[in-house]
Symmetry: C2
């Protein structure tokens, strides 16, 4: 049994604000609590605003690689891109909601580092062992709608590693590795909501996932490139293949 | 604030068992509860065992379409496939853990229909309005590890539709549509675990997502084919394009 609640009196966060104080002074933290912090307030406290009249341009600036593009009948273009954290999403982490006009908000430079700072601070302030997850909202390839996932984590196991354990009938569970950090981020989203005002959730009763500060962070959730079967959209990959094939086919036909 | 707990004395489920009785007699359900049921026990109650010495063959039988294939250096092949429910996953929903030797377990024929039956039964038995989610475990394209998601749902909103609402700064939130059914399935997984024995979680305090029995089910979460940018793995799509391009290039070179 565990519970998920919000801290409901966190004021609008401004650059330079101390999140440890903002959270720690408003929550009676207990040993094993996991604090889920919306990336937006981490970005705001770190002053990650940039002037941008055009959100699309800001997305381009944050994009390391375009994975896939699609233009719908009504002329709206969806871009799936990889951002500098390696995260594949529709907006490169650029946030234009709940921000002042003419500005957008970028993701924290180092979300695992931010999570670690907050975790160290909250452990010192509260005197108990807590974990911290920084959440952001992502779409999925084959499912509609978005989920909150962990883009930063500290003091918490990001995977519940069952590889090698036996199931109830005595067979080894070879490949199951639940991403508990993402599941906890989603559990937090169910109370935090998206319209702002409640950017921090406290998950109480899952202390078995809380651990050392040097546990691997959320960066380890990102699938390495050499295991990514969907590195390029189907249409883009087909186009790349067609061009290469066409050129080789021409050369072969003329005996090169 | 909400809580997530398990029913911890559910016995091994056998074909023909009545899940409504198994769950309803062990849980004091409250108005607005959401009952998350692991698909495995739904399949078992529906007798979805098939004899299979070879799990790979069972996966092939359940596969409607191979999306991508990858063979690692150690010779292990990963197949990403679409199953008959339209769900893209690594094993087509074929489950060989916690099943008797020589058998595998297939997904329920109609998970939304199963959810509806359980929901109707639990509402009748308990006299309160509850929702039901049937969960299964899926991997993701660009993130490691798995999450529990909703493959069946009844009496519960699968999306928290924020399109058209305004954020705190008065701007419309145009495309945000959190998939709360998947988030609730994940929240349930954090207490249910994977090794069996606790296949049902009760989520209490999210009654705002509970609604009519005729709400759309979890089948509506699956992204329609015409919006799927990752219908084929990058390598497969490149290969398809190459073959088509090669043929066209040859023909063009000889003046056809």
């Amino acid at each position: 049994m565990y519970s998920v609640s919000v801290i409901d009196d966190i004021p609008e966060v401004r650059p330079g604000d101390d999140l440890v104080e903002l959270i720690g002074s408003r929550a009676e933290l207990a040993d094993g609590d996991i604090v889920v912090v919306t990336s937006k307030i981490v970005s705001k406290s770190e002053g990650r605003f940039v002037a941008a009249d055009d959100r699309e341009q800001a997305i381009s600036d944050e994009t390391v690689r375009v994975v896939a593009t699609r233009t719908t009948a009504d002329g709206r273009t969806t871009r799936i891109v990889e951002n500098r954290l390696g995260i594949v999403s529709a907006a490169a982490g650029v946030d234009a909601s709940n921000t002042p006009d003419g500005t957008v908000l970028l993701l924290p430079v180092d979300p695992d580092g931010s999570a670690r700072s907050i975790c160290v601070g909250l452990r010192e302030l509260s005197g108990v062992s807590v974990g911290v997850i920084i959440s952001d909202t992502l779409g999925r390839a084959w499912r509609q709608g978005q989920l909150d996932v962990a883009i930063g984590a500290a003091g918490v196991h990001v995977f519940d590693d069952l590889r090698g354990t036996l199931d109830n009938s005595g067979k080894p569970m070879v490949v199951t590795q639940p991403c508990v950090a993402d599941e906890i981020a989603s559990a937090g989203d169910l109370v935090k909501g998206k319209t702002g005002g409640t950017p921090v959730a406290i998950v109480r009763g899952l202390g078995r996932f809380v651990g050392d500060l040097d546990l691997p962070g959320a960066a380890t959730i990102v699938r390495p490139v050499d295991q990514d079967l969907f590195r390029t959209g189907s249409e883009e990959a087909y186009g790349d293949g067609y061009r290469d094939g066409f050129s080789e086919g021409q050369q072969e036909a003329v005996g090169l």
